[in-house]
């Protein structure tokens, strides 16, 4: 294989190594990277592990700033162990619990999930629904990018050569908010989504003040169904309104037919999932 392995002790060192060894790839948990290396036979000529960089494993909520920060090395299990994440960002741990198995969740990372950029990445929907931002660090410095702008296509992100993501920044939902994540898959674990939906809404006296609807596995990247969102904003969250939002969201999806399902089936299921997730989010907003 002719392979090099690096364990930098800081972000700048990691970036310098990536710049010098053009064919090396950064690794967080490695649960996607190691599989793709084995399947491709000829893979990256090296790995730059982020595991020895201090301060990247945090899942910290700052109540003064109303901001949740998830570091690049924070695993799904780390997120699932955080009480504040369950309380304020319910859709996110719901999604985490549906990723792979406990073995995968103990090693794999949320940031890695995002950077791998599968259109069906389970954490992408909730993170989009919560208006997450991504801190990108590279040879030319640091920038913070809205997650909405981060994905370019299947497996493709805006990350340039030698750039890494160091953390996710997620603002606290407003009072009166509720969220939900629903994933349609043949198995209850260890499966990819045929279609998935994340909804976050804020309501007051039964009227939707704001909402986000994110669709997974039905397009080249995780999508926001902004037309469906506009249908709900300012409206009473009644069954008919929610149904219309589901139909609108289905129309905004861009599914393809593949071994997991036909485009028609996925489109239909988006309608159903958006309805159900919106009802769930509405109930949770009331609590």
């Amino acid at each position: 294989m002719g392979f090099e392995y690096f364990e930098p002790k800081g972000v700048e060192e990691a970036i310098a190594i990536l710049a010098e060894h053009g064919a090396a790839k950064p690794m967080a948990g490695g649960t996607d990277l190691l599989v793709s290396i084995r399947m491709e036979e000829v893979g990256p000529r090296g790995i730059v592990s982020l595991s020895k960089i201090p301060g990247l494993s945090n899942v910290d909520y700052d109540p003064d700033r109303g901001l949740l920060r998830i570091g690049a090395m924070a695993t799904y299990s780390d997120v699932l162990a955080s009480r504040v994440v369950h309380e304020k960002y319910a859709a996110l741990p719901e999604a985490c619990l549906l990723v792979g198995s406990v073995q995968i969740r103990n090693v794999g990372t949320i940031v890695g999930n995002i950077c791998h950029a599968s259109p069906s990445a389970d954490t992408a929907g909730p993170l989009l629904a919560f208006d997450a931002q991504v801190r990108v660090v590279g040879p030319r410095g640091e920038r913070v990018v809205p997650l909405e702008e981060f994905f370019l296509g299947p497996g493709q992100t805006i990350l340039e050569k030698n750039e890494i993501v160091t953390e996710l920044l997620i603002p606290a939902p407003e009072r009166g908010s509720g969220s939900a994540y629903l994933k349609l898959s043949p198995r209850r674990a260890m499966d990819l989504a045929i279609a998935s939906v994340a909804v976050k809404l804020t309501s007051e006296n039964g009227i939707c003040r704001d909402c986000r609807i994110a669709l997974g596995a039905v397009g080249p990247k995780p999508l926001r169904a902004t037309g469906a969102e506009d249908l709900l904003k300012g409206e009473k969250l009644r069954e008919e309104t929610i149904q219309r939002a589901g139909v609108a969201a289905a129309g905004e999806s861009q599914p393809i037919s593949d071994l997991r399902g036909s485009a028609e089936y996925r489109r239909d299921m988006i309608g159903v999932l958006v309805e159900r997730a919106t009802v769930l989010a509405r109930e949770r907003a009331r609590d």
Binding site: M1, F3, E4, Y5, E7, G30, T31, L34, V35, I37, R38, M39, I47, S49, S51, S77, G100, S101, V102, Q103, I104, N106, V107, R188, A189, M190
Partner: protein, 159 residues
């Protein structure tokens, strides 16, 4: 170029020289000779290679050996005491939860890691905990029964 690492497995320290792309599974079986951990899919889908690292169940096919350097690793060989099997091992035998036996080491370790942190689970929680371990022989019923019998015995003993 090989790297010199130390793997702490079942309380013993094994110095090994490894290629950086060798997985923990590769090294446990080939370099250290602990073949109780099985290679199934080699891709994180079947759980046959499950070991416990720093108290957490992981697929040893999906972590590099260098990642495991200095961490506390438990394989199936580390479960039995001097003259006694671990309660999970005994339960699997008693309940008929072993047919070909290939999933068994990974299944038992996944169960152990789970019960260590959750001594009083429901059956649903147990099923979720072993969702990452596939068995082609048994249909899982006896496996779940075996794990629940350990839970019940521990509860009766007032643990």
């Amino acid at each position: 170029m090989k790297l010199n690492i130390e793997l702490r497995v079942n309380g013993e320290t094994y110095p090994v020289a490894v290629e950086p792309y060798w997985t923990l599974l590769d090294v446990l079986r080939r370099e250290i000779g602990l073949t109780g951990t099985k290679r199934g899919c080699d891709g994180g889908d079947c759980g046959a290679c499950t070991v416990i690292v720093d108290g957490k169940a992981v697929d040893s096919c999906l972590v590099l050996a260098v990642w495991a350097n200095g961490k506390a690793i438990t394989t199936i060989e580390g479960l039995a005491g001097d003259h006694r099997l671990h309660p999970l091992q005994e339960a699997f035998i008693e309940q008929g939860a072993i047919q070909c036996g290939y999933c068994t080491p990974g299944m038992i370790l996944a169960a152990k890691a789970f019960l260590d942190g959750n001594p009083n689970p429901t059956e649903e929680e147990v099923r979720r905990a072993i969702a990452g371990n596939l068995c082609r022989c048994t249909g899982y019923v006896k496996i779940v029964q075996a794990i629940m019998s350990v839970v019940e015995t521990a509860a009766r003993k007032g643990n």
